[in-house]
């Protein structure tokens, strides 16, 4: 079931100064994670990214996820240290047609040595706030007993 990505998070993903990584698994369950600068959120709320390398492990894994309705995960880290995880199921591999060709031309404008294996569209299924300060507050509230006692020792 698709979830809506809030504007604040979509803006974080679409900011080219922020770092984005994509994690996936292969058909044997082995994990793989890479930086993917091309990840964006589209106007209709899907995740989009360019797969530049045909033989990349990510390309194989995302195809596998598309085929078997498996999730992949994306993490975006902003310059002001906010962090969001977005899980999603790849739904479309676009590798031909005029829409693909427009993306191919843009990929080559960024770097003339680029080829473009596919444009992937991913349906987001879960969004998790991973910013440390938010997570720490949440952890403290939900699990107050998860701590070391020395932190409670009386200070002289």
């Amino acid at each position: 079931m698709a979830v809506k990505i809030k504007k604040e998070i979509a803006d974080a993903v679409n900011n080219p100064d922020n770092i984005k990584v994509l994690a996936s698994i292969d058909r044997h369950g082995n994990v793989h994670v890479v930086a993917k600068g091309s990840i964006t959120v589209t106007e209709d709320g899907r995740i989009k990214y360019w797969e530049l390398l045909e033989s990349s492990q990510t390309n194989k894994n995302v195809t596998y996820a598309l085929w078997f309705n498996k999730e992949i995960a994306i993490n975006v880290i902003t310059t002001d240290r906010r962090s969001y995880q977005i899980k999603g199921i790849p739904r479309v591999n676009l590798n031909a047609g005029h829409e693909y060709e427009e993306n191919y031309i843009k990929a080559q404008e960024k770097n003339e040595n680029n080829d473009l294996a596919a444009v992937y569209y991913i349906e987001p299924t879960e969004i998790i706030e991973e910013t440390y300060s938010s997570r720490l507050a949440e952890e403290t509230k939900k699990h107050p007993l998860y701590m070391h006692l020395d932190r409670l020792a009386k200070k002289e």
Binding site: K60, L66, N93, A96, A118
Partner: protein
């Protein structure tokens, strides 16, 4: 009366859902592609109404098969980036299984069976060069065709294995418009080769459209040695294309007759060719003699295999493919009656051939008008799924890649689609 009410075929084999459950390694969308390829797909009026010949790849005269009652795009796109290489299929009084239906729901093209929507589909887009003309006044669409990511030229439109009546391959409907004895196929003169150069140059202006250059043709038997004239024709055609490409080697897929080592060496040294495919069609020596009598008489099964192995010495492991017509080994009365026995036979032979560095490109056998086998019954979906999975495993076990026969540069082989996740 529906076809199923006549033949009860749905009660005699596992359904799509049963096959997906039984073989969890097959992607459901690939199983659908196999099943549509096997049963065909018939367009509703609503689907035909969606065809826009300004946008979609429509060939009024199908240059390879040469007939067709209703004009439809020649292929469909699926959302995983794979393709189905079929247009609208007519239903005949001998048709054994109901075809899938291409319909329109919520303004989208959808693939339907028994009122269930399986997947959305899109028509292939027309190449930008299609409505253009060469300086000789030739429509470029008569020089080249295309799939979504490949440019195709057929240097010869006559297969001379049909020169002796009924010696052509029994499953084949390709170039069936040129089978009569007096028909030599389309003329290939200097004007044609010049048209090839101009068409390729124009095609390459469409950025991102073509990932490979493909040539295939009917077999030409003439020459000092058998196939010498066919080799000459392919070399001339490739050289015509090479005039506008700035590379010594580029992705070229050649699907041709079983050339000798000397002929292959010449092709490799004189042209940009990078991979080579020659089709054994059916992986059984006895059945090869029945299904492909002309190939058997003039070359023979063992020699055809031997030439595949010679090709590996020139092109390298994984750059030589063998096409097969998956399922034709069950054709009657001489083929296997038991599907499991057929499968074991095919995969055992495939393993032997793959150990020599040859990959496989498996086509789903569909009975087409124009083929001697047009009234045969093809195997079950379960058979084709097992075949695709089995051939994929043979490829993996032998450490072979698949390049120009893959999902993108060809798109007609379920087993090579599976290479996407290797």
């Amino acid at each position: 009366m529906s076809i199923n009410e006549k033949t009860h075929w749905r009660e005699k084999e596992l359904s799509y859902d049963q096959v997906i459950d039984k073989y969890p390694d097959i992607p459901p969308i690939l199983a659908l592609k196999i099943d549509v390829s096997r049963r065909g797909i018939a367009y509703t009026d609503a689907a035909f109404a969606k065809v826009d010949s300004n946008k979609h790849h429509v060939e009024p005269f199908n240059y390879m098969i040469g007939h067709g009652k209703q004009i439809s795009p020649i292929g469909l796109f699926l959302r995983d980036g794979s393709v189905i290489c079929q247009g609208h299929q007519e239903v005949y009084d001998w048709t054994y299984r109901d075809p899938y239906i291409l319909d329109v729901v919520d303004d989208k093209l959808v693939i339907v069976d028994n009122d269930r929507i399986f997947e959305e589909a899109k028509f292939w887009e027309k190449p930008d060069f299609y409505d253009k003309y060469t300086s000789n006044g030739t429509p470029m669409r008569e020089i080249a065709s295309a799939r979504p990511q490949r440019l195709t030229i057929a240097p010869a439109t006559k297969c001379h294995f049909w020169d002796v009546p009924k010696e052509g391959c029994k499953y084949c409907a390709l170039f069936s418009a040129h089978r009569s004895a007096n028909d030599e196929g389309d003329i290939r003169d200097d004007k044609w080769f010049s048209d090839v150069t101009e068409t390729v140059e124009e095609a390459l202006k469409q950025k991102g459209r073509y990932a490979s250059f493909h040539m295939t043709a009917g077999s030409t038997l003439s020459g000092k040695e058998i196939f010498d004239d066919e080799v000459d024709l392919y070399i001339k055609t490739l050289k015509a294309a090479e005039r506008v490409i700035d590379a010594k080697k580029f992705p070229v897929k050649l699907v041709a007759s079983a050339f000798s080592k000397k002929q292959l060496q010449r092709m490799y040294e004189e042209t940009a060719i990078t991979t080579y495919t020659t089709d054994l069609e059916v992986l059984n020596k006895n059945l090869f003699g029945w299904v492909c009598p002309g190939k058997n008489r003039l070359v023979g099964y063992d020699e055809w295999k031997h030439r595949l192995y010679d090709a590996v010495e020139i092109f390298g492991r994984g750059n030589v493919d063998c096409g097969i017509v998956g399922g034709v080994e069950t054709a009657q009365p001489n083929g296997f009656e038991d599907e499991q026995e057929a499968l074991n036979n095919v995969l055992t032979e495939a393993e032997e051939i793959a150990s020599h560095g040859v990959s496989f490109a498996d086509c789903v056998w569909n009975t087409l008008p124009g083929a001697i086998f047009m009234k045969q019954k093809t195997p079950s979906l379960e058979y084709y799924v097992q075949l695709a999975l089995g051939l994929a495993e043979v490829r993996r076990k032998n450490g072979l890649y698949i390049y120009t026969d893959d999902y993108r540069r060809c798109g007609n082989h379920p087993n090579t689609d599976l290479a996407r996740i290797d």
